[in-house]
């Protein structure tokens, strides 16, 4: 398995909360190929964000390791950029200056400044942010702010782009626009992506492969190939295709089965005396 860009090897993570230890992840292993888009989904508490933070180097593993091109990850680095859900932009910098932020850092001094200036300009255009180049982040909508965060992460030309529920705080319409945008950006900027989301439809629509994590302790439950057309050929209509809907349905069923919510639901039914609905045939309602 030399082709793997990213290799997660028997990864475990425990947090100490007071006297007790909480196992967030136990023995997680998988590979991500170069240029692959992998989505991590799962019920809350399954450790999907922790896993992303371990890959980013923002947390250190209790067991196992993360390998980037066969070299172990120790701490954060400019080869793995992260897009956070919110509050990561620098409010004192304009949109353009936020995107350029990494250019001023010592780690990037040796690089061709004119080339990276061109790159900032390209990213502004690609993200549809030209008109807002001089605006401060607080004047922008949530969707626009996330575009800036993505552009800033791409400025460094990272090997891997890690996205932690990047559209989780956006409304449904804005999220759809962002999906189209990210697919287009991917077509021009071929990157390896690990994407955490709680939105199964989003995961299926954007990714090549979906890893379902189960909680208590966080572990891989199942892996699903989406087998969808290439990024640029995906459209919103795809979401209504029977294959797409059934894949979403099966993944959701897995998440539900592992979430422990079923026992809550059973307890509620016992308390309220409501009988579970009769199992119905799979026929479409009228």
């Amino acid at each position: 398995m030399n082709a793997a860009k990213l290799s997660i090897r028997n990864l475990g993570k425990r947090f100490a909360t007071g006297q007790r230890q909480f196992t967030a992840l136990a023995d997680v292993s998988f590979d991500v190929a170069a240029g692959e888009f992998v989505a991590l989904v799962g019920a809350s508490g399954c450790g999907k964000s922790t896993l992303l933070r371990l890959i980013a180097g923002l947390e250190s593993p209790s067991e196992g390791q993360v390998l980037l091109e066969a070299r172990p990850v120790r701490g954060p680095g400019r080869d793995r950029a992260v897009v956070f859900q919110d509050y990561s932009l620098y409010p004192w910098l304009s949109v353009a200056a936020n995107i350029r932020f990494s250019r001023g850092l010592r780690a990037n001094r040796g690089r061709e400044q004119s080339a990276s200036a061109e790159r900032s300009q390209l990213l502004l255009e690609l993200m549809g942010l030209e008109r807002f180049a001089d605006a401060y982040p607080h004047t922008l909508s949530g969707g626009m702010r996330q575009r800036v965060a993505i552009a800033r992460a791409l400025q460094n030309e990272p090997d891997v782009l890690l996205m932690d529920e990047p559209f989780g705080a956006l409304d449904a319409q804005t999220r759809e626009v962002m999906h189209e945008l990210i697919l287009h950006v991917l077509a021009t900027e071929r990157r390896t992506i690990v994407f955490v989301t709680h939105d199964v439809e989003e995961a299926v629509y954007l990714s090549d492969r979906i890893i379902v994590l189960a909680p208590g302790p966080g572990r891989i439950d199942s892996v699903w190939e989406t087998n969808l057309p290439p990024a640029l050929e995906r459209t919103q209509e795809l979401k209504h295709a029977p294959d797409f809907a059934s894949l979403c349905g099966r993944i959701r069923a897995r998440i539900r089965a592992t979430s422990g919510l079923q026992s809550d639901l059973d307890a509620l039914r016992r308390l309220t005396g409501v009988k579970p609905p009769e199992p119905r045939s799979a026929s479409e309602p009228k």
Binding site: A56, G57, L58, G75, P76, G77, R78, R80, A81, V82, F84, Q85, D86, Y87, S88, L89, Y90, P91, W92, F101, S102, G104, L105, R106, A107, N108, Y136, P137, H138, A149, R152, A153, N156, L162
Partner: protein
């Protein structure tokens, strides 16, 4: 009136001016009514007259100037030490653990009680007044600045680290820069406290300054002069506060200042 309802700038000013006039009017009416001995409450006119005399014949401007210099020196000394220290305490937990017990203890120490010690340590020169103002402001300032730094959102720090920033770069380009508006607010608030320690500093073998003038007037029961001193200090404070607010608005257009 609605809870947190809007209020235009003009209305705000009108209400503020009305409030000022109302309280001055109450003061004048109470003094003019004859119910209160003028020794306890000198009338606004008497205070104005005293201010005029102090300004023309006396050395009100000299006193004000020396007081401004003392407060500025003590305050700047505090700020120059408190900003870097507060930055480190807000950034590194071990530094916080190391310095917090001492700081929390020191900030409850009454500055007045240090008067004899300061005289012994620093002598009776200008240094002693500056040292007292420093004692009164520094410890509070460090703690407040460390909180300002600790409140910088974690994603801002983590984003910088994943973009390749070193610790020094995170410290200066993210933490300090992000906390700067809050730090300026903290400085503005502690500057007000520095002025309250001025009168205390006047206790230390002073022979000039507003604090000294107030204490001297007390000895001769010149209550109108005490009022002038208090009002002048209040006006200087109000002026610098408004100035720092304007600086805040000009430098940090993306934030709102703390009230």
């Amino acid at each position: 009136m609605n809870i947190r309802g809007p209020l235009g700038r003009r209305r705000y000013l009108a209400i503020a001016v009305a409030s000022f006039l109302l309280w001055t009017g109450c003061w004048w009416a109470l003094a003019a009514s004859g119910w209160v001995d003028p020794l306890f409450l000198p009338s606004p006119l008497a205070v104005l007259r005293r201010a005029y005399l102090w300004g023309v014949d006396g050395d009100l401007l000299v006193d004000a100037r020396i007081s401004i210099l003392r407060v500025t020196a003590g305050f700047l000394l505090s700020a120059v030490m408190a900003v870097p220290l507060g930055l480190l305490i807000g950034a590194y937990r071990p530094v916080r653990a190391f310095s917090e017990p001492l700081l929390e203890f020191a900030r409850y120490l009454p500055a007045v009680a240090f008067v004899p010690m300061v005289l012994l340590w620093v002598g009776i020169g200008e240094g002693s007044k500056i040292a007292l103002i420093w004692i009164g402001t520094f410890f509070q300032m460090v703690i407040m600045i460390s909180e300002d730094v600790a409140r910088v959102p974690l994603p801002q720090i983590e984003a910088a680290r994943t973009l390749g920033a070193t610790d020094a770069e995170v410290l200066l380009r993210v933490l300090l820069r992000s906390a700067l508006p809050a730090i300026l607010d903290t400085l503005r608030i502690t500057l007000g406290w520095a002025w309250t320690y001025l009168v205390v500093a006047g206790l230390v073998a002073a022979n000039s300054g507003l604090g000294y003038a107030i204490l001297k007037a007390q000895r001769f029961l010149q209550t109108d002069k005490i009022f002038v001193g208090i009002i002048v200090i209040g006006l200087i404070g109000l002026g610098t506060d408004q100035l720092l607010r304007a600086v805040h608005r000009a430098l940090f257009p993306w934030t709102v200042s703390r009230p």
